[in-house]
């Protein structure tokens, strides 16, 4: 008979992870929770009579609802562009040989550029006076100015995001496509399936798993995007491109309203969590039932 020996030393092995998670997630999150139920004046905290006052105020704030609306619009638009475009690019990439590697490297390049650099690139690129894009459009007689015009500002940040992140979707979709055995294409040819049917019944189902991950990643990333639009438009013109995180930072660091900002970021976090969870559950169930 073998009995389990009690050995509490195992805790030491878990400890590094616990410490790491505590400092990276638990403690900061609890600090935010702490702020959200207190009031602050110049660094001193006072307990609130109504503990949920900031939450209530935030839920009634039109400014926050507007920012949320803009945020949903932004995420919706970039997903609607990046996912089909990424799949389209993946379908047209060479499957092997020198050009396959070449494409992979070229596609990875935007992914390697830091956010604020991407922002700066596009900020200069779009300037009417010295930017290649802005100046060219101006020379062509197209009225384009992302600092003045809401529509232009939106087009700029969306094109920027598409440029930066479509590669990610394309690379994931490409990996999905590469995993399809040749026999499927041969069988489809024998069955005289059209190109569209090959896509619809072979490639799309086989890509579904990776596409789901791509959509989830792109949704989460775009929903908390900050640096790029902030560097390009600073949230303007007016509040036209003030997305949730930009507004949050304005409130917390600009106005030093730590309490409302904390309440707001907790709700922000819960929204992302809820949407991701719903999304994930729906997708996995679809997968199980076989679409």
């Amino acid at each position: 008979m073998q009995t389990k020996t009690v050995n509490q030393k195992a805790w030491f092995l878990v400890l590094p992870v616990l410490v790491l998670v505590a400092f990276s997630a638990v403690i900061p999150l609890m600090t935010v929770v702490n702020y959200s139920i207190q009031d602050t004046f110049g660094g001193e905290f006072f307990s609130l009579e109504d503990k949920l006052m900031w939450f209530r105020e935030m839920l009634e704030s039109q400014r926050m609802w507007d920012a949320l609306g803009r945020q949903l619009m932004f995420s919706g638009i970039i997903l609607a562009i990046e996912v089909p475009l990424g799949v389209f690019v993946a379908l047209n990439m060479p499957k092997s040989g020198f050009w396959a590697s070449f494409c992979l490297v070229m596609m990875s390049l935007p992914l390697l550029i830091p956010w604020n650099v991407v922002g700066t690139i596009w900020q200069i690129f779009g300037r009417v006076d010295i930017g290649l894009l802005g100046n060219t459009l101006d020379a062509l007689g197209i009225d384009y100015n992302y600092t003045q015009d809401t529509f232009d500002a939106w087009v700029t940040i969306i094109v920027m995001d598409v440029w930066h992140w479509t590669s990610l979707v394309a690379l994931l979709a490409y990996a999905g496509l590469k995993s399809i055995p040749d026999a499927y294409y041969q069988a489809a040819e024998i069955d005289q399936a059209s190109r569209w049917k090959v896509f619809r019944y072979i490639e799309l189902p086989k890509m579904m798993g990776v596409l789901m991950i791509a959509i989830l990643l792109r949704f989460m990333d775009s929903f908390m995007i900050y640096t790029e639009p902030f560097v390009v438009t600073g949230g303007g013109p007016g509040n036209a491109t003030t997305l949730l995180s930009i507004d949050l930072v304005k409130m917390a660091l600009g106005q030093f309203d730590l309490g409302p900002a904390a309440a707001f970021s907790i709700m922000y976090f819960l929204v992302i969590l809820a949407i991701s969870w719903v999304f994930y559950t729906v997708m996995t169930n679809l997968d199980k039932r076989g679409m």
Partner: protein, 363 residues
């Protein structure tokens, strides 16, 4: 249904093949008769899949022609050849129902729905999946998926040939037998021309009317299972088919006598003295252990495999296998072997030499 003719066919994967060694498939002329079941048998890399892919049109041969009913299809794409193929790994359209899977080739060809529905019912009955038509193909077992891909092939009435590329590789052993039997029955009932690629001799011999044995890019013998067993045309056939394979002994042949290590062995026919590397081949089934007559052997071990015993013995320095009946007692005095003269084949440079006289037929 169609007769398939291979005319002067050869294939090399290299752009500029020089010698014969560069060809994955060496020159080949053969007619696949309409409605026959063939097996393409050989070990990995012998060129059998290359040949199958040329017939299905996935590969274009470097030389020669391929004809379906005397129509040249050498350069026709797969879709125009009207063939069906079942692959090693089951190919089904996961997101469709079984019904839609079976209907797919017909719908793609624009047949009207009432015909499609009727035909799908018919095929579902043939492959025994009538009660599963409404299910999604995803989540079915490998054997069910292989049946669907077979059904997808047979659903077209005008299909020229059904090609199978090691279709039972991923099937559980107990289902293999059932599927093979079903396949054989389908062939019997509907008479499609079938070409079945495999490296498993049992599959090949039980399935096919004619077995095409390939070795090193070359077809070494085409024959009925019986012919392959009785008169292997090449030492590879002798070795590859049968369990254990044929015994090969270096020998000298003169007239109707062979000499192994100077000892005389009677043959079933009379031969012109063959040149090159001369060997005699005799299957373990036709070697008998005796107490008195024959030539001496040293028995190394006896394996009882249930139905019979396999005796491994040393015969003038060469290991030979002998099959003895389950009931035979192998006594200490059984130190000699006798070969059935009618079942001793003579090989020169690995190819069988036919006897001058036709005594072997009588033997």
């Amino acid at each position: 249904m169609a007769k398939i003719t291979l005319d002067n066919l050869a294939h090399s994967y290299l752009p500029n093949p020089q010698g014969e060694d560069d060809y994955a498939l060496k020159e080949l002329n053969h007619d696949w008769a309409d409605g026959q079941a063939y097996a393409l048998l050989g070990s990995s890399g012998c060129g059998k899949s290359t040949l199958l892919n040329i017939i299905s049109g996935l590969l274009h041969p470097s030389q020669g022609r391929i004809l379906f009913d005397d129509k040249d299809v050498t350069h026709a794409p797969t879709a125009e050849r009207n063939i069906a193929q079942v692959f090693q790994f089951p190919v089904v359209y996961d997101t469709m129902t079984v019904h839609d899977n079976l209907a797919f080739p017909l719908r793609n060809r624009g047949r009207d729905e009432s015909y499609v529905a009727e035909r799908v019912q018919e095929i579902a009955r043939m492959i025994g999946m009538e009660d599963m038509l409404k299910r999604k193909a995803r989540g079915l077992g490998a054997d069910a998926k292989q049946k669907i891909s077979l059904g997808r092939g047979m659903v077209r009435k005008d299909v020229n040939a059904l090609l199978f590329d090691e279709p039972l590789t991923v099937i559980d052993p107990h289902m293999k037998w059932e599927l093979r039997t079903q396949l054989k029955k389908l062939h019997h009932d509907f008479g499609h021309t079938m070409i079945y690629v495999t490296h498993d001799q049992t599959e090949a011999l039980t399935f096919a009317d004619k077995v095409v044995v390939m070795y090193d890019g070359r077809v070494v013998q085409i024959g009925t299972p019986d012919e392959l067993f009785e008169r292997p045309a090449h030492t590879f056939v002798g070795y590859f088919i049968g369990s254990p394979g044929m015994n090969l002994l270096a020998a000298k042949v003169e007239g109707d006598r062979a000499y192994v290590d100077g000892k005389e062995i009677p043959l079933g026919g009379s031969y012109d003295t063959p040149r090159g590397k001369v060997e005699i081949g005799v299957r373990p089934e036709f070697v008998h252990l005796t107490a008195g007559e024959g030539l001496p052997v040293r028995i190394r071990r006896v394996e009882d495999v249930g139905r019979h015993k396999i005796v491994r013995a040393d015969f003038f320095g060469t290991e030979i296998n002998i099959i003895a009946d389950e009931g035979d007692a192998i006594g200490a005095d059984m130190t000699r072997v006798r070969f059935d003269p009618g079942h001793v084949n003579v090989y020169a440079d690995d190819w069988r030499v036919a006897p001058r006289t036709r005594q072997e037929e009588a033997a």
